[in-house]
């Protein structure tokens, strides 16, 4: 029982997920969308109609937050933040990745064992790296001048083997500064998105949706009928 569990949480997919701010926030918001309404529904202190109303509202709110987050954070904060950090750290010899997605593709492949990097499902990451920088030039490590694809896949012509993850970590070929820039941009974006933008936008959208679902009027009617003071939702 323990071994399959450990195998699951130490798998590459789970590890990449755990290291990715964007994925963690999406997962957290999805769980909130399930957990909070569920606990609202089992709260015996409030009457049934109010519980249903509150749970629906909370569920819709969290789903809207997730939608707003997915629409705003990756394209605006993650990509633009990464480009801004590329300008700020222009003297730090970071490879000229064309986007945050391309950097993440490199990191994702670097995290795997060399044999796993070439399997079919990972070809999309390789193809993304093959596009090169924004001018279409091959991506290279500014410190050594070597192509990044050579680190990941080796070279038959030059008889170079792909590098193991631990060697890449040891020799600074994981480009922590570039990866960290993306994570910091995502954290800042998540904070702004989920504390300022999402609540304000969803506040505007939520009431029309609740009315369209005939939940708002129904709840108010129920409140009038029961004449109860405690009508929190």
């Amino acid at each position: 029982m323990l071994v399959p569990f450990v195998n699951a949480i130490t798998s590459n997919t789970f590890q990449t997920l755990a290291q990715n701010t964007d994925a963690c926030v999406k997962l957290e918001t999805t769980l909130k969308a399930v957990g909070r309404p569920a606990f609202t529904l089992v709260d015996k202190h409030t009457d049934k109609e109010t519980r249903k109303y509150a749970a629906t509202k909370e569920f819709l709110y969290q789903i809207l937050c997730l939608g707003i987050y997915m629409a705003i954070i990756p394209p605006i904060f993650k990509n633009r933040g990464f480009k801004l950090f590329q300008k700020i750290f222009k003297n730090e010899q970071m490879p000229a990745f064309r986007s945050a997605k391309q950097m993440m593709a490199y990191h994702h492949l670097a995290y795997m064992k060399p044999a796993e990097r070439t399997i079919d499902k990972n070809i999309k990451y390789k193809n993304l790296l093959k596009l090169g920088d924004k001018d279409g030039k091959e991506l290279t490590d500014p410190k050594t001048g070597k192509p990044l694809l050579e680190y990941l896949f080796g070279s038959e012509d030059k008889q170079i083997k792909p590098l193991e993850k631990r060697i890449m970590e040891k020799e600074g070929k994981m480009f922590d500064l570039a990866k960290g820039s993306i994570e910091l941009s995502s954290i800042v974006g998540s904070v702004i998105g989920l504390t300022i933008l999402a609540p304000e936008i969803s506040h505007l959208i939520l009431h029309p949706i609740m009315k369209a679902l005939h939940l708002e009027g129904k709840h108010e009617k129920s409140a009038d009928e029961s004449k109860k003071i405690d009508k929190n939702v």
């Binding site: 130490t10 290291q19 399930v34 709260d43 989920l194 409140a223």
Partner: protein, 194 residues
């Protein structure tokens, strides 16, 4: 120039550190802290609500995020020491187990622990605060005060005070009227979510 270098170096350190190891906890803690500060601030800035309502709503919002923050930290502290014995038993990398457990603890906290703790604690705390405020202001606790509670996502509701006001004033009529008025205030213009 000195200040610029200081900011640059620290930004570089933060980015490098996040690049080497990014814990799932960092983002959720940052969100909890900023929500705990920003949402009560926005609530207090709302000019349409009255002062008492705003104070209660802001306190509740701040409290919810404080519970979230503490829950994330506590769960993390409880779960992480398990990685060494698990690594010894299974032979897996302790670092990888730590990363995995960290994400699991965040999921567990967000999906189950925080809503459960909020359900159990918010109501008694808010009632306690209300009783304390009543006592401080020299008001008698109103009948049915144990059900007075506000939530950040409460629906706007207008209670017709005249419909509950009796022309024959009983001894407790004043406190009852106060309770109705207070409750009406507490339940208005709150925002959904947390």
């Amino acid at each position: 120039m000195g200040m610029g270098n200081f900011v640059y170096n620290n930004l570089k350190k933060i980015c490098e550190s996040l690049g080497k190891h990014n814990d799932a906890l960092y983002a959720v803690l940052a969100i909890a802290v900023f929500k705990g500060v920003m949402r009560p601030t926005f609530t207090m800035m709302d000019k349409d609500s009255d002062k008492e309502t705003k104070k209660y709503a802001a306190f509740r919002e701040g409290l919810t995020e404080a519970i979230a923050f503490a829950s994330y930290i506590l769960t993390h502290k409880i779960v992480l020491p398990l990685c060494v014995p698990i690594a010894k038993r299974t032979g897996a990398s302790p670092k990888k187990i730590k990363n995995g457990l960290s994400l699991l603890s965040v999921c567990l906290t967000a999906g189950i622990i925080i809503p459960a703790v909020c359900n159990l604690t918010l109501k008694p705390i808010m009632n306690g605060v209300k009783k304390f405020n009543d006592k401080r202001k020299g008001r008698k606790p109103a009948a049915g005060s144990n059900v007075l509670d506000i939530k950040e996502n409460a629906v706007s509701e207008k209670i017709n005070v005249s419909s509950v006001y009796s022309p024959k004033l009983s001894e407790n009529s004043r406190s009852l009227l106060d309770a109705v008025r207070r409750n009406s205030m507490q339940n208005s213009t709150m925002k959904v979510g947390g």
